[in-house]
Subunit: 232 residues, 2 copies
DNA sequence: CCGACTTTGTGAAATTGTGCACATGGCACG
DNA sequence: CGTGCCATGTGCACAATTTCACAAAGTCGG
């Protein structure tokens, strides 16, 4: 049964973690059954989308009833590969690296910080959320000994490509990049980029449009500018 | 001329900041002209997409030549509403709040931290990247006096909705949410969510598929599993 | 055991996003 | 001032994603 599972659309993969989080929450609240409607409401999406998304995992709902929270959690976890822990290594012990190392949300969801490394000798040895910062030279050993597959780049932009190169050389095959630069990596290595400033810029765009729309409405007597609701 | 500009597709809006960052970089390097091809290469996207994206802003390129870097930067900035600074207020002075307050990338791109507030009295008064942490009660005054339109939620999950409510009450109309919960906000307020753990979970999915694909290839003699290259 | 009611799972339509291919416009060189 | 070349801007086909609408399947009260 080790068949390469049917491909799940990328858009769906991006939503599964959101459903998972909501379901975990509901489980804690003692809810043990939820409808696509309910899940959609909590997730701020369309109910049909929820059903279609979940249908990619298989038919795990009961018609007329809904989905059993616990079982669904289990299935999503399995699909996402969260049925075991993933050790991650963080490169860069600056502001962001510190915050990430200390961020409870990682450990809770199965991402253990196996190590934090920094090129700056003065930072080596300091403690960060229970983890001692190691020198860059330890990277290879950490990755090898702990079986790390995922690396996080939390360095300044100028050092990011170098960090990525070293992660790849050490054997990491997935990289989460927080530096505002595009990383070049060999084929077969997956990169995801999170740029905090980009998110603000997108908000800025909408905010600015809002202002424009208002002033336009003031000038003309046509306030009926259709606006999109809160973004999910 | 204050006409509500033609609507730009959401996908394009999400890419404009990336182009902007690359262009800024190129400008620093002294490059003053760039082709869609060149920009596409640096951004890891298709050249046609770059041209289509930029065409939404207007016809700012020169056929046979390319785009003038400086002018394009100016136009993208204007479109994104980055032709002036945006003061932002951060709620939550924990690990993440600290990192965000100290993150140089914000200030550089026109997002000044107008204030950091925290509900925890013991954190009030401490300094964070040049900003003194204020008590929650100051939030309204900060937003009003500095004309803050964008708020950042960097609290623990349980406090996030409350933080959002207070931001909205204070007059903020855009919220960037780092807490792993869905925020409910009134219509007219835009929310964007960045969940660090979600990104890792998406990587986990791909990483896990990779493993599955390999073991499947070992079982059968069919290694020709097509894999997607590095994700942009 | 049946009928009313609820909610899933899914074809099919609608919408959105992507990439190709090429006509168009502009530059540069002779 | 004309010719060749180059890169933009865009129409079009196609791919991905979202949404609708409804048959199928199950629950529950009587």
């Amino acid at each position: 049964m080790a068949r390469t599972r049917r491909r799940i659309p990328e858009a769906t993969v991006a939503r599964l973690p959101v459903y998972l989080q909501i379901l975990d929450e509901q489980a804690d609240l003692g809810v043990d059954n939820i409808s696509s409607e309910g899940l959609a409401e909590l997730g701020g999406v369309n109910a049909a989308k929820v059903r279609k998304d979940l249908s990619y995992l298989g038919s795990y709902g009961t018609r007329g009833v809904g989905y059993e929270v616990g079982y669904l959690v289990y299935q999503i976890r399995r699909e996402l590969g969260l049925d075991h822990d993933w050790p991650v290594v963080i490169v860069g012990a600056g502001n962001l690296g510190q915050a990430l190392a200390g961020y409870g949300g990682f450990g809770e969801r199965g991402f253990r910080v196996a190590g934090v490394v920094d090129i700056d000798e003065s930072k080596v040895g300091s403690e960060l959320g229970g983890i001692i910062v190691s020198p860059m030279s330890e990277l290879g050993a950490i990755v090898a000994s702990r079986g790390v597959a995922i690396g996080v780049v939390a360095t300044p932009p100028a050092a990011a490509q170098d960090a990525a190169d070293q992660l790849v050389a050490a054997g990491v095959t997935s990289v989460l990049n927080f530096a505002p630069v595009m990383l070049a990596v060999p084929l077969g290595v997956t990169v995801r980029k999170v740029d905090l400033a980009v998110e603000l810029q997108i908000l800025s765009y909408h905010e600015q449009r809002r202002v424009n729309a208002v002033s336009a409405a003031q000038l003309q007597a046509v306030p009926a500018v259709r606006r999109r609701g809160a973004t999910a």
